[in-house]
């Protein structure tokens, strides 16, 4: 999609679609983790990577559409995308390499 498009008045439908998408992704992450009553509590890298990457997608949607970052100058887009990559990347890195602290 073009980044040149200025704010439009007619984005109600798009906002509704984003909201539906965010809700479906939330239900998908719950389903990934076993849903109601079937959840298991064993270490599972597939679930962890899945839900954290889905979280990254959700946050990006909230930022681009609800927070209107997609209409913002490139600097703001780079900062917000950079934050997502930094935080989700650190969490997945710590998980993947099993770097742990014991109190």
């Amino acid at each position: 999609m073009s980044d040149e498009v200025p704010m439009t008045q007619d984005s109600g439908r798009r906002l509704a679609l984003v909201w539906i998408g965010l809700s479906l992704i939330t239900l998908l992450s719950w389903w990934l983790a076993g849903g109601r009553g079937h959840a298991t509590f064993d270490r599972n890298a597939g679930i962890t990577f899945g839900v954290l990457l889905l979280a990254a997608v959700k946050i990006r949607l909230i930022m681009t559409d609800f927070m209107e970052v997609r209409h913002a100058p490139p600097l703001l887009r780079r900062l917000t995308d950079g934050w997502i990559v930094l935080v989700i990347g650190s969490l997945l890195g710590i998980y993947a390499f099993g770097v742990g602290l014991r109190p």
């Binding site: 040149e4 200025p6 704010m7 509704a16 979280a55 959700k58 609800f66 934050w83 710590i94 742990g100």
Partner: protein, 201 residues
């Protein structure tokens, strides 16, 4: 299909209540959002480090939570953000009645969120799962409580937005957008808390 309003001029500092402005709300709020993002990011990293230090304890403790609360909380907050985005859009179209209705619905969702958290905490405390139970529950109470604190601050922010929208002489699109930016931050921080506390394994 979509009506394109106004100019392409992207970066010049436009007046509030026009459609040319590109940074939503006051830039100061974005500095605050990035600051909060880094602070919460550090909490999340510390959580993950402790978790990896004792993964079995965290998994066992997670099994004592009711994930339905986490899912419902997430859906409620996402819905609140949608209403807030609709409020910004309505205010931009000078439909202040719709903007007020939408910001009020945002507040209702926020209250549902806080009510549900209080209910969930009292349930867990009743089951003997308290802050001092183990490391998982330190983080469970700390992360959810500091997040609820941000929701409570959000009510003040939304109150300012409502006050602005209610009086014709006070209306400022910039203030509405600034409040919305804060509220959406509370939403996206919860998205990570949900993944870390309730669903990761």
């Amino acid at each position: 299909m979509q009506q394109v309003i106004a100019a392409q001029s992207a970066t010049d500092g436009a007046e509030p209540q026009t459609d040319e402005r590109v940074v939503p709300g006051q830039p100061d709020m974005w500095v605050f959002v990035l600051f909060e993002g880094l602070t919460f990011g550090a909490y999340f990293v510390v959580y993950m480090l402790y978790r990896m230090g004792n993964p079995e304890l965290f998994l066992r403790s997670q099994a004592r939570l009711n994930p339905e609360f986490g899912v419902a909380n997430t859906l409620v907050l996402l819905t609140s953000s949608w209403f807030m985005a609709r409020c910004v859009r309505s205010a931009r179209r000078a439909d202040y009645r719709a903007a007020l209705v939408n910001v009020s619905l945002t507040v209702v969702c926020g209250l549902l969120f806080v009510g549900s958290k209080i209910f969930e905490w009292s349930m867990k405390i009743h089951q003997g799962l308290v802050f001092s139970t183990n490391e998982f529950f330190w983080f469970y109470y700390f992360l959810t409580a500091i997040h609820v604190l941000h929701v409570l601050i959000g009510f003040v922010v939304l109150g300012v937005v409502m006050y602005q929208l209610a009086g014709p002489a006070r209306r400022s699109q910039e203030i509405v957008e600034t409040g919305a930016t804060y509220w959406h931050m509370v939403d996206f921080l919860w998205v990570i808390i949900f993944a870390l506390i309730y669903v990761m394994r």
